[in-house]
């Protein structure tokens, strides 16, 4: 059952991500990326990490993607990407495009070869219980408390920065 779920979710994630890259309308890209995030969230449940699965949905699909949707709707820029076929969709000249595609394929092959060097490693102890929020919370607030506080400063800076950057300049 787990194997079947893994392959379905993995295929869903890869296909949705490919479609994100291929869409002409950024609105569809955002919605397809939410599908991809949902599939990844299912994979996190299979990996015994329900907390990560939950925050994946709440933060990524719920908050970040809604932010993207707001901007896509605010800018209403679909019309400019409809000028002409793949010329409009992909950047650079023909050479730059082919070079970029070749680099991406080389990266995929390189990673595949590197992983093939490893033995197929099953997860030790398949019946290992899923990690609980309690474990994560204890670890987070004991050993990673400084990083946690630093993160709150980062969020504050990002918030102020976003407001400053997106503000209309008064003349």
């Amino acid at each position: 059952m787990d194997a079947l779920l893994f392959w379905i979710l993995a295929a869903l994630a890869v296909i949705a991500s490919l479609l994100v890259i291929g869409q002409r309308n950024p609105m569809y890209s955002v919605l397809l990326l939410i599908v991809s995030f949902g599939a990844l969230s299912g994979l996190y449940v299979l990996l015994g990490a329900p907390f990560v699965a939950a925050i994946q949905i709440i933060i990524y699909a719920g908050a970040i993607m809604v932010l993207f949707l707001f901007v896509v709707m605010l800018l209403n820029a679909q019309h400019e990407s409809q000028v002409a076929g793949s010329e409009a969709r992909f950047s650079g000249g023909a050479f730059a495009r082919r070079f970029g595609a070749a680099l991406a394929i080389a990266l995929a092959i390189e990673l595949g070869l590197a992983i093939r060097q490893l033995q197929a490693t099953p997860f030790g102890g398949e019946g290992r219980p899923a990690s609980t929020v309690r474990d994560i919370g204890l670890r987070l607030f004991r050993d990673y408390s400084f990083a946690f506080e630093a993160t709150s400063v980062l969020i504050l800076v990002a918030m102020v920065g976003a407001i400053v950057l997106a503000r209309k300049e008064r003349s």
Partner: protein, 105 residues
Amino acid sequence: MNFLPEPTLNSYLVLSAVLFAIGTAGVFLRRNLITILLSIEVMLNAVNLTFVAVDRYLGAVDGQIIVFFVMTVAAAEAATGLAIVIALFRHRETLNPDAYTTLKW
């Protein structure tokens, strides 16, 4: 369900590598600032998957905590990145990164 191979650590790592390559291809190939930001999110998620899979393999929770931090940084990055996109759009009325070449000569 014996006709499908049981997923191992490698299956998750390969899936993560494929997703990362897709995200990289998006950053290289697309000419829409919003889609480029979305491709960066795909790459961040591929890395998150690696963290959680290795976490399961080692039986620890540290990877999940790092995923938590990655998500926070991704939220900050999306907020500032989109603000920059809005500011750029005000200047040139286009999302094509090829239009912003003032620093190049």
